[in-house]
Symmetry: C2
Subunit: 124 residues, 2 copies
């Protein structure tokens, strides 16, 4: 069980940032109508999440993952994923450090969607 | 509803780090038998959480909070809290940046306990 949670979490993280870096618009498939994103303090829900992600003011980027922590959440079958890493924008010399958490909920089809997503750049 | 979630999240954060900095052993009351902590990658559950917190290799410390983000979780009445800030140890000149997330679950008594807790120092 513990191992499965970790495996799903890691596979999700790999999939998520690969899509983000190569085909950002397809991230829409990972969010539902009820999904919530808090991006640098800005709260978004449902379709607004994908609009926000697609309108971020940079074109090409690359995420480097430093740590992935996973825990089963109390919600039946849910998984909490906590990521730290850095984000390299093509127009910027220095990568930006970030932390992000996801709460993944299983779908009846046997996959997962993102119910909660909180993203913060780490300054300082 | 949204405002209440934010209020509870902020009050929890204030309470949690105040206890951590002034009376660390009393944090035990915020965790249950089922609670999970991942501390810098180390996984702990139930009573082991408090043992870990009490045995951290520094005596006095002070947490400075930079950001608090809250979202209702899909679990009925649950709240996801995401914190970034810095940790000043009395023996260290430079504060350490950290990120931490909590998943709070309501108790029948009308308060909340920590079901999920993930802590990471932010290097770099």
């Amino acid at each position: 069980m513990e191992e499965q949670v970790e495996m799903v979490g890691r596979a999700f993280v790999e999939h998520y940032y690969h899509l983000f870096d190569t085909d950002r618009s397809s991230l829409a498939s990972l969010y539902h109508q009820s999904s919530m994103l808090t991006f640098e303090g800005q709260k978004l829900q449902g379709v607004d999440i994908c609009a926000k992600i697609n309108q971020l003011p940079f074109d090409k980027c690359h995420h480097f993952i430093s740590t992935i922590d996973t825990q089963p959440s109390s919600f039946a079958g849910g998984i909490t994923v906590f990521v730290s890493g850095s984000l390299r924008l093509m127009c910027e010399e220095h990568p930006l450090r970030f932390s992000q958490m996801f709460h993944l909920i299983p779908t009846p089809q046997g996959s997962f969607y993102v119910q909660n997503d909180i993203f913060r750049l780490n300054y300082g």
